[in-house]
Symmetry: C2
Subunit: 480 residues, 2 copies
Amino acid sequence: MEMVSANTTQEKGVLGRVWERIITLTKAFKEKVWEICRMTKKIAQDDPRKVIHSLKVGLAISLVSLFYYYQPLYENFGLSAMWAVMTVVVVFEYTVGATLGKGLNRTLATLMAGTLGVGAHYLASLAGEKVEPILIGFFVFLQAAIVSFIRFIPKVKARYDYGFLIFILTFSLISVSGFRDDEVLEMAHKRLSTIFIGGSACVVISIFVCPVWAGEELHYSIALNLEKLSDFLQAFICEYFTTLEDGDSTNIMSCLERYKSVLNSKSSEESLANFARWEPGHGKFRFRHPWDQYLKIGTLSRQCAYRMEALKGYLNSDNQGSSEIRSMMEEASLEMTMESTKALKELGLSIKTMTKPFSADIHIANSKAASKRLKSLLQSSLREETDLLSVIPVGTVASLLIDIADCTEKLADCVNDLASLTNFDDVESNKCPKISQSSYCECAEPDPKIDASDVVILVEDSALAMPDCEKTKSDQHNIV
Amino acid sequence: MEMVSANTTQEKGVLGRVWERIITLTKAFKEKVWEICRMTKKIAQDDPRKVIHSLKVGLAISLVSLFYYYQPLYENFGLSAMWAVMTVVVVFEYTVGATLGKGLNRTLATLMAGTLGVGAHYLASLAGEKVEPILIGFFVFLQAAIVSFIRFIPKVKARYDYGFLIFILTFSLISVSGFRDDEVLEMAHKRLSTIFIGGSACVVISIFVCPVWAGEELHYSIALNLEKLSDFLQAFICEYFTTLEDGDSTNIMSCLERYKSVLNSKSSEESLANFARWEPGHGKFRFRHPWDQYLKIGTLSRQCAYRMEALKGYLNSDNQGSSEIRSMMEEASLEMTMESTKALKELGLSIKTMTKPFSADIHIANSKAASKRLKSLLQSSLREETDLLSVIPVGTVASLLIDIADCTEKLADCVNDLASLTNFDDVESNKCPKISQSSYCECAEPDPKIDASDVVILVEDSALAMPDCEKTKSDQHNIV
């Protein structure tokens, strides 16, 4: 009896454990599903255009499937109609530029490789039946090796990588299958026309149904990056020169993190610029819009961001330096940085609205004047008891801020170049203060001149009103 | 007569101009061809593995073309044999990991989408002839839209993007063409088996013919980056604390530029880590090698590089600061930075050779001691006449160097973690000095302790021997 009961308990124990394991697994699975749902919802909320893109892809593929549904089309194209479906799946990209680039690359590469493939097939067939497969094999090897190597050239990789891939593909298919079918020309023609149809469907849908232009993305992301830098600067001086309440502090903290995305923006900006070059004129962007100028602005923005990365270490450092020197430099540093901040914000706004920067030069001039004042302040002799260690943190911060002000000046030049290259609109002077004020009101007081007595008010003002990260974030998703 | 001669002159003029234009065009064309040849030669010389890769691609495609050359295979697979050629062209990537990832993604996605496609086709056929195309169209739309959206999830994009693309492709092809052919199962089977054969050919060739492992690339590029940082630091202090002759100076200048590639290394490191996760164990790397740890080291390297970017501005700045304070800090700064340099170089070497860092901790300790000494030096009072402006540049440089020393300490911790995670080999203590010496000899004198009197000799030594950029560059291409 005891044995049996022991067995039953053991069995129950085993069953119980299995049951428990099942329950934990189910729970873990449920949580995973929930997590995925939450993430999906977040992605969809952050950028509804991604949902629209998905629907566009579905639409394009369903449309091209008509090739199969309708008898006459099917008989014309036969099996190669699936090339059209394939083309849509492979070519349809998020931005118009990427789709156009891939479509053009695919069509042109197919055309060229098709011609060459037919030529290679003809040449090989002249050589006699025995030599033919050897020759064709040799041609295929040769072109695959050469084109694969060409794909390593950086300039080619950036713009024509996909085209060269399709070149290898088409050449191999045509010359190899031609050897079998002797219907090379027909196959080449079919492949080209189906690809053309599939590609056109992609391009038409991506341009006319809620288009996402790579150029516009680049344009607004460059403008947004300038705003991020400006937000950081403003949050930094608020945090460095004052002590804030907790609520503001968390808000400021999130602004202090925003510049980080600028640090690693190089590759995404470069690929956007490459896509944008394929795009036709749209809105205020013409065909040969100077996208390289945006890359220059991007490079300067990153240089600013590197300085900010170095600056940030001084916010919560143990050694904050002498408060005496800090307060001595406070006024000039604040004015210089505030002017740089305003200049950055206006430059961002100027790009965003494609209007010539109106007062950025004034802010830059003010910032330079403040920088000079700061330098002459720093030239005043130190008192004997001051040690270097208490001077250095403050000095380094000042020096990095001066660096950033210089960088802002270069940025302003670069944006001015962009404005003249692309004929940004002029803003009437009576209209302009409205623009700048409406954007600065959120971040700082509208008066560009700061008295020493105003410093505390200014800082309080900006601390309360500026780090409006949430707003800017939602802004970003509406525009970019 | 005059008219005629005038006409002739004019004609000659036109002809002459056309001729001239042709000559200039030919010249420009020749130059372009030459430029391309030079660039090609440079790419081939810089990394001969790229040539080998191109030949491998040619080999794989030629091999798979056997499907067409030999009658029996052709009869088995027919037209779908071209899927094998296509698979090779599309799947064959530079590194083993990328090829494996794409191959697995393609095979698994084809398997899953094939199954689902057949299911969808069966379900639709149950609904009757009239509803069938509508249902199939709906299924295709639904899966294309959902999968396109899933591709936006960052984690999915990083590792499974290609798989999901092929999922859409296969599902659409099978369910749509199945509607026509009623040979869905056969088609799915053919497609899967040809893709499997093409994929296997790629994987086998990429693994067994001069393999390029993504993991190894990541490993050595991380090690190389640490060396680049170390080179910069050493070149910086040589340049900052001494005046060099022209010959050395250009050599040093090239070393001062090398850290720049570290600034934008994030995306390439991340994609290499993603590829590496697909790779089987090879050499000293096992299957689940801690690739994330490499990414952590990469992040810290970039943080160092950001500081270096800020530092570099102080080399050729107009205001070099007080030479008195500079010489006061020279000894401690030099020792601290030299020790950091040595630690960085040893960490890089330790990763490269997969041996535990032997003396890095000692260098870090020395660097910390020097940093403390530097700080206490800075605490000594300033003389009355010193102005802040002459103090700040020197102070900022010292402060950034201290930052970099701190960063080096974190890097050492990270590399130690990696060493214990992956069981780096121990180096016998009698063997180790040989290793460290052989690498340091080129860059600095072997004695870790520096006297103030040795500083000049040290700097001269290192200036002559260290910035051996060319050597390191060729090293890189042999190993990485």
